[in-house]
Symmetry: C2
DNA sequence: CTCATAAACGATACAATGTATCACTTTGTA
DNA sequence: TACAAAGTGATACATTGTATCGTTTATGAG
């Protein structure tokens, strides 16, 4: 039984997105235009492995308007290409969605994000779902931990 | 295998709070003063079964300042007596924590909150935790569904 | 290629949800 | 009862977005 973590529900869609890595192409296939701003934002997000906030992206891309950054992020969320990951402090990060279903871990000290995947959890959740009144449309799950680096770090 | 749902991690504390229902007494035991405002807010929260937003509370209690409502909610969160429950739309509700560990369901149509508890999930999560690099300090999990009422309702 | 049109954009105002500040009030206790 | 610490209210501010609207750009028809 092993692990890597992921936030399942960008927009409560349980289906994983197609295994293409060219987000822009996917957007175009969905009828969205390929603009300089979208290319810039998507390019940057793809390079950021470890999660980011919207403001962070806006700051690092002064050539793209703040509103457009938010619009693009919203678009990618809706298209299921981004996950919105709640942090312990009430804030949250965005992180690229992977094709395979998984969940996320967040270090409560340094905020580092990890992923895990565990078929047992999924199976149990499905079983629970079949017992619940109503129709399950998704789930969300995060593990909070103190990562190895923080455990080893001297400072409290 | 049955169910009822709950947000585990108010402040990432895995321990359930003591099975007393007198929140005010608990606060006092922790050294907090019993003020008119806290009594009013806590009293109201205890009566609200189905979750609430901070603004909702502030509006219904015009005699208590807005800042104090937020302060009290923050206090109760820190003390582990409230859960902060993320909603599909990015907003969230607060809901009283129960003594027993459980998770929450949220209807993505009407926002109704349910609870479930399932020992298998907890066991699996513990097992995953022991495999992860780092020290697990808590987890969070929500199921999103369309509740029976919404399924039966005529409107789409 | 060029133009019309819908889509997207930027600037900016606004909204929602909280937090910080600080002078004032209340609580608990010596 | 009086005092210090804790708590409060009013208000300003912070963060994270969304709405508006006039301008620019991508795209596809001709």
């Amino acid at each position: 039984m092993f692990s890597s973590y992921r936030l399942l529900i960008p927009n409560f869609n349980t289906a994983p997105r197609p295994p293409s890595s060219d987000l822009l192409a996917i957007l175009e296939d969905q009828g969205y235009r390929s603009t300089y701003q979208r290319r810039t934002v998507v390019g940057m997000l793809e390079r950021k492995g470890d999660g980011f906030t919207a403001e962070e992206v806006a700051e690092e891309l002064p050539k793209v308007g703040r509103a457009t950054v938010y619009r693009t992020i919203k678009l990618l969320l809706k298209a299921g290409m981004l996950c919105k990951l709640p942090l312990p402090n009430g804030a949250h990060k965005y992180i690229m969605a992977r094709a395979e279903h998984h969940h996320h871990t967040v270090c409560v000290r340094c905020g580092a994000v990890g992923e895990f995947r565990n078929s047992t959890v999924e199976r149990v959740l499905r079983a629970i779902g079949s017992d619940m009144p109503g129709e399950i449309v998704g789930h969300r799950m995060e593990l909070y931990l103190i990562c190895r680096d923080c455990l080893n770090a001297p400072a409290e």
